[in-house]
Symmetry: C2
Subunit: 128 residues, 2 copies
Amino acid sequence: MKALLLIAHGSRREASNEEVRALARTLADQVGDGFGTVVPAFLELAEPNISSGVAECIRQGATDIHAIPYFLAAGRHVAHDIPEELGQAGREHPEVRISVSPYLGQHPMITQLLLGLAQQKQSAIEAA
Amino acid sequence: MKALLLIAHGSRREASNEEVRALARTLADQVGDGFGTVVPAFLELAEPNISSGVAECIRQGATDIHAIPYFLAAGRHVAHDIPEELGQAGREHPEVRISVSPYLGQHPMITQLLLGLAQQKQSAIEAA
């Protein structure tokens, strides 16, 4: 079974982490038969961490885990921390295949989404 | 003149900041006549900061500044720091109008982009 592991940064603000968990549930509803589960994981500040997220995928029956870094720019988290933690999880679970997609910011449609936001109604900033 | 201010987090990894600046240049090429300039700004760890980014928009002739938070989740940066720094810039420059769009993560197409990444060819994680 293939699992999708959605890896976000994690926030001190629990509403923000909950937003990522809700997004994982939305993806699970829409991802179709190719994936048996979608599990959220956080690099820091929230649970589950990447190791626990991988373990949860396996607990649900995954043998093939596709990680998506929910990040916009290739800072040290994307360039270093996520591959390292996934590599560590791979050593702990040699029976599963773990792979990683480009991070979200590399998606060619991001520019179009920003142009859409530029045209959208905006909120005035209160200078008072 | 309307300016687009693309606000990113900023990284210790300069290649990541350069990626945001390159994205601002791409947006400038594509945003059309509605906007006279696109300026990148960073909340921390990189230059220009938000105050300097607003000043740069004004230096280029902007009277109306549309900020787009280049963030995926409403952590404290989006919920608190960006509105506060934009409000401060508004007090320093009462002659310009500053407004802010939803942050990128609120764009309804994000889910579709993630589903696209899930289907894409992935890189194996080296467990060795």
